[in-house]
Structures are given as C-alpha cells and as structure tokens.
C-alpha cells in the first residue's frame, strides 16, 4: 500500500458522499456505544476500587468459610468473639496493631422523641471504629469498659442521627430499639455509600457483649459467641507484613478450631489487596461484557460496510476491468477495496470515540443519589485503542469478502459488464 492507494480510496469514497456518510454513521454509532458503555464500566470500576482503598489497605478481614479450591466437607467451626480475643496475643510483638470484631447486624426500627429511623444494629468491639477508618463527628467512641459492663450505649451512623435528632444534640439522648433502651454517646462522620452494600451511615453500633446479652443469646456448639467478621489492623501495608500477620492469625485460628495438619482452613483471611483484585477482576469482566453488548451495534455497522462495499464492487466492475487491463494484479485490486473499507471503519471509529466520549461526559453530568454527584466515567487509553483496533478489524473482516470478489473478477468479463 502507498499514498496513491489511499488517495484512490478517499476519492472513491468522496464520489459517493451520502452513501459513505450513512455507512460511516453505522460505524460511528457502534464505536460510540462501545466507548460510552465501557467508559461507564471503567468509571464504576475506579470508583469502587478507590472506595476500597479508602478503607485502608493495611487491614485483614477474617470470616468463616472454605478458601477457594477447597473440597473439604467437614463442618465449619464458626468464628467467635473468643477467637477474636485470642488473636490479641499477636499485638504483643507488634505483628498486628488492633483487632476488631463485628457481630451480625439486625435491621430494625429505632425510635426517639416520637421520630423513628430504619437502622441496622450491629454489635462491635471498641476498636471497630478505628480499625475501619471511621471518624466520629462528635461524642465518644465505645470503650472497653462499655464492653465489659455490657453498657446500654450506642454510636449512631450519620443518617440515623439526622433522622432521629434533626435539631437536638443527640448525645446523652435515649433511643429505643425493640426492647432495648440505649444512650447515645457518639455520632459517626458521614461515610457515603459503602463498598460492601451497607453504609455505616445507617448503622447503630453497640457493644458486642450487649448485643449478645440482649439481642441474640445464641451460642455455638463449643459455647462461643458467634461473630461475623474479624478485622485486623497491621502496622503497614507491605507484602511481608501482610504475610506475617496472616500466618500468625492462621496458626492461632487453626489451633483453636482444632484443624488437623492435612485439612484446609475453615476461615478465610482476605487482604484488601485480594479484595480489590477480586472485585476489579469481576468489574473488568463486567466492563468487557458491556463492551460486548455494544459490540453488537458495531457488528451491524460492519455489515453495513460489507453491504456497501459489495454494491460498490458491482458498480465499479468496469473500473476494475480497466485497472486489470492496464496491469493491476489481484493483490492491487484487493488492497484498493480493502483500504477503502478500512478507511471508512477507522474514520468511523475515530468519530465514534469522540461521540462516545461526549456521551460518557454527558452521563457523568447527570446527578445520581442524594449527594448530587454523577456516575464517574472514564474514557481510558485502552478503551480508545480497543475501539480503534476493533473498528479496523471490522473494516478488514467485512471488507475482505467484497475486496476478494473484486480481485477475482475476470478482466474480460469485467470490461464487458454493463
């Protein structure tokens, strides 16, 4: 291929402007929808990853379950508050800094001064707020004393506080949840929507001991107090620190759960890095899936190109005959028509990226939720490259058949064509 071939292709396309623009439009719509949808996917991916990172990357989460790949069907020993307490020994040599446990939360109506709010009550340890990087807006956090005395105190999430005490200072006010009367000692800073479904803004945090004594008296077979998750804060986020911490936790929990040497763990230790990786892998698939759906319209655009090229080959049969008569080889004709379809598809691809970026920018301006912020969208370089290369491939793929048909024409028959 050379400059002359490109010139021939462009002048052939320019000779039929309306037709060329309509074909272009098909490509533009296809590529624009791929770009826009993928940019939305990529934006969501970024937003979630950022939120996960905000939770701190030096925290390990432990919950019950078999690690991936395990085929053991022995019964799982549930995690208990006592397990969390046993991990305290890792603090002595600085392997870990803080340990927090949370029980399962229960959703219920919370009432105060004739107002009510739907909240989820969760028993937690005193360290829960700091380990999860939550900040107190005002008041006091839960203390070890509260835990030991099974105190009837609560720290409110910001939404709950706003629902119940729109004007008054909530501190030292009483609230009621079912048969539980609690005194408010603190209110959390607004956290925004949480990464894992539930937002801290809708929670009411009470001492885990109180929750066990008053809400659920359930005990495990071994007499322990079941909990949902243990969060462990590490001194830093280096790989070794995480590995050493995880190894220490693993050893203690395996001993406590009396797991034989050859058996798999019955708990999962997940680092935020693992979590971010797992989530972004899933979201990456989601983004690609969105792209694939949009790819259907690209396919339609490609079929449009093929259709037009077939018409063009038929219309220009005589021209092909003339070119062959003066010495054009099959390859020359093939390349001429292929360049034409690739020019259309790549031009459509570039314009489509522009349009897609505009759409994605427009979507980001639409306010969502109550914080008034739009969905983040991101037209990243990889999306642009993907769109251009897919567009070019569409041009080649759908152009090759018509081009080949042109190239194989018999010169004499082509010249006789009326």
């Amino acid at each position: 291929m050379n400059f002359a071939t490109l010139k021939v292709a462009i002048s052939a396309l320019a000779a039929n402007k309306l037709r060329t623009s309509l074909t272009l439009l098909g490509m533009i719509i296809g590529v624009a929808s791929v770009t826009a949808l993928m940019s939305i996917g990529r934006g969501v991916e970024r937003q979630i990853t950022t939120e996960l990172q905000a939770a701190g990357t030096n925290v390990l989460f432990i919950f019950s379950g078999r690690p991936g790949g395990s085929d053991s069907d022995d019964p799982i020993v549930p995690l208990t508050y006592e397990d969390a307490l046993a991990l305290e020994e890792l603090k002595w040599d600085g392997t870990v800094i803080e340990i927090a446990a949370e029980g399962s939360s229960r959703s219920m109506a919370v009432v105060a001064q004739g107002r009510d709010s739907q909240a989820s009550i969760r028993g937690v340890t005193a360290s829960y707020i700091s380990v999860n990087n939550y900040e107190l807006a005002y008041g006091q956090p839960l203390t070890e004393t509260d835990l030991n005395s099974r105190a009837l105190v609560a720290v409110l999430g910001s939404n709950v506080a706003a629902d119940l005490f729109p004007i008054d200072d909530p501190i030292d006010q009483n609230i009621r949840a079912e048969n539980l009367r609690l005194r408010v000692i603190g209110v959390l800073e607004e956290q925004g929507s949480g990464a894992f479904g539930q937002s801290a803004d809708d929670m009411v945090l009470i001492p885990i001991t109180t929750a066990h004594a008053r809400l659920s008296r359930f005990v495990t077979a071994r007499g322990g107090q079941p909990i949902n998750t243990i969060s462990v804060e590490l001194p830093d986020e280096r790989e070794e620190t995480i590995d050493v911490g995880a190894a220490g936790i693993r050893q203690i929990l395996r001993e406590r759960h009396e797991i034989p040497e050859e058996e798999d763990d019955d708990f999962i230790i997940m680092s935020p890095k693992d979590l971010i990786e797992a989530v972004s892998a899933a979201l990456g698939v989601f983004t690609l899936f969105l792209g694939a759906i949009a790819g259907i319209s690209l396919l339609v655009g490609g079929i449009g190109i093929m259709n037009i090229m077939l018409v063009s080959v038929t219309e220009r049969t005589r021209e092909i005959g003339i070119r062959k008569a003066v010495g054009a080889k099959r390859r020359d004709i093939l390349i001429q028509f292929l360049v034409e379809s690739v020019v259309v598809s790549v031009l459509g691809g570039l314009l489509g990226i522009l349009l897609g970026a505009l759409i994605s920018f427009g979507i980001a301006q639409i306010p969502l939720g109550d914080d008034g912020e739009g969905l983040q969208t991101a037209v990243t370089l990889d999306i642009v490259l993907l769109a251009v290369s897919v567009a070019a491939s569409v041009g080649i793929f759908f152009g090759i058949y018509p081009a080949n048909r042109a190239a194989r024409l018999d010169p004499i028959q082509a010249l006789r064509y009326e």
Binding site: E319, I322, R323, K324, V326, G327, A328, K329, R330, L415
Partner: protein, 318 residues
C-alpha cells in the same frame, strides 16, 4: 530475419451456449513482426475481438500456443499475465474505457502505478540512457550491466523520484498524442476523440512492445477517426511500436503493412497493405525513416490540429 513479437499457432476458443458450440476462434495461426503495422478486418462475429483479447492477454485460448515477445503466455499465471499487460501491451478499446472522474494525467499514470518496482527500475534504465534517446528505445533496449542498473535504481530511490518520474512520463505521453492543454480534464470534460487520445497515451506510457486497438475509431466520426488513425500510424512509423488494430473501414485497413481478413474464427485471407514495401525493409533503415525528436515536430500539419483541439467546435462536444 526479422524478430517476431507475436507468434500464435492454432489458437482456439469455443463458447458453449446451451447445447450449441460457438467456435469464436477456430485455429488461428498468426505471426506479427516487430515494428509491423497490421490491420484485422472481417464481418461481425468473425472472432476479431476474441483474437485481440487473447493477443492482449486479457483472455486465454482454449487451445493453441501463443508466444509474445518470445514468452510462452499460455503457461503464465494471472499475476504474470497482469505484468505482461502492464509492460508489453498497450490496449486501446472501442469504448475508450477511461476511469470515471479521473483526470487525463492520472489516467495515463495508472499503468505506471501498477508497474511498481519494475517500472521504477525501467525508468531508472531510461533516465540512465538520457532523455534524448528515450523516444527510440522501443525497438531495442541496450542492456545495462547489473551494476549500472543497481546504481540507477538506488539513485532513483534516494531522490524519491518515482512519483515525479511517473508524472513526467505521463505528461510526455499526453504531449505525444497532442493533449498538452487537456491534462487535468476528466473524461466528461473531453470530446470522444480526445478521450481516445488519452487512452492511446495510456497505452503508450509504459513503452510497450505492442499496441493493440479493437476498433479504436468505431465510436468516432470520420474526421476524428482520420486523425486518430494518423496518430496510430505515426506511433508505428516514428517509434517503431508494433501496432495491430481491428477496423471495418477498408480504406484505413489499406494504409498498413498487412491486412488479415477473418471469417468464422479463421484467417480467411492475408493481403499486403500500401505500406508493405517500407515496413519490410531492413531494421537499420527504420532509424533513417524516423526523425529524431518529438513526434509533433515530425508532422507539422497534423500538429496544428491536434495541439489546439478546443478551437475545433465539432470536437468540443462529446
């Protein structure tokens, strides 16, 4: 003994239509010598075009041998045939067959474009020899040594003069057919006679061994036909290019070295034309007959007509 450019033996081409067979060519053996001017005549349907297309490597015979410039064409693949059409043959059609919407200059450049590397080394060969001799190299191209050729090609590549070289050669060809002031005109902006001149320039530009013309004046009025035939005859006389053309006009056919009369797919008769004496003279004599320099200077009277086609009202309309 003179060298033959075309040598066919017993060419056959049969079309099967339903259950009847049409023997478009029924054993044609033909020799054409280098520099010859040959007319083919015959009634409609006698197989003239079929023969011409095979001679032009646009079509293949069903049977028979065809040696073009010493090369056995029957055995060549499509790509080699395309190369032959490009370098050895200039084809002129009755219906002009110009590309739509393309300027005269670009029409004429087209064969050079498809000549690719070959044309480049060919052009290097030409420029090495110098422009003075280019017009007369059609007959015998002195072989350059490998080293000389490589130097010339390398120089061309270095100077990036492929495009400019093509343009110059296309201009040269258009000047030779008298269209120097119509170079940027598109086919719709040219009269029929001018369009056919562009086609002749296109056939001429690669310096082919042979020009084949299938009723080149069939679509033109008699005055324009006369001019075009004069042009073809001059190309033959001055450049020594072998010209084979089909015509229905007895008077035109006579102004050649030889006339082939076809009937029912066979050569029914062969006659000497009015020019037979001079053409069959030894090769050396030709150089004396062909004046050096441009063709237009050779025939001043026709030059005046062809140089200013716009001044002719009958030609201005298509």
């Amino acid at each position: 003994m003179r060298e033959s450019v075309i040598e066919t033996t017993d060419l056959r081409k049969t079309y099967v239509m339903g259950d009847s067979e049409i023997h478009a060519l029924d054993g044609v053996s033909l020799h054409v010598e280098r520099g010859e001017l040959l007319a083919i005549t015959g009634p409609s349907g006698s197989g003239k075009s079929t023969l011409m297309n095979i001679l032009g490597c646009l079509d293949r015979p069903d049977a028979g041998d065809y040696l073009l410039d010493g090369e056995d064409v029957a055995t060549l693949d499509d790509n080699r045939l395309a190369e032959i059409r490009n370098r050895k043959i200039g084809f002129v059609f009755q219906s002009f067959n110009l590309l739509p919407r393309v300027s005269a200059l670009e029409q004429v450049e087209l064969p050079l474009l498809y000549g690719g590397g070959n044309t480049r080394s060919h052009s290097a060969k030409r420029s090495y020899q110098g422009t003075e001799s280019t017009l007369r190299t059609g007959n015998k191209t002195p072989e350059l040594s490998g080293a000389q050729q490589r130097v010339a090609v390398a120089r061309d590549l270095l100077l990036q003069r492929g495009g400019a070289e093509w343009r110059n050669r296309a201009r040269e060809a258009l000047v030779a057919v008298g269209l120097e002031d119509r170079m940027s005109h598109k086919p719709t902006e040219l009269s029929g006679g001018q369009q056919q001149r562009v086609a002749i320039a296109r056939a001429l530009v690669t310096d082919p061994a042979i020009i084949l013309a299938d009723e080149p004046t069939g679509n033109l009025d008699s005055r324009t036909s006369e001019e075009l035939m004069a042009l073809l005859l001059r190309l033959n006389a001055d450049r020594g290019i072998t010209v084979v053309f089909i015509t229905h006009e007895e008077e035109i056919a006579r102004r050649t070295n030889r006339i082939i009369r076809m009937r029912d797919g066979r050569v029914a008769a062969e006659e000497r034309g009015e020019m037979s004496g001079s053409a069959l003279s030894p090769v050396g004599a030709e150089a004396d007959r062909a004046p050096s320099g441009s063709l237009r200077r050779a025939e001043p009277s026709s030059d005046q007509r062809t140089a200013r086609p716009a001044s002719r009202p009958d030609e201005a309309k298509p």
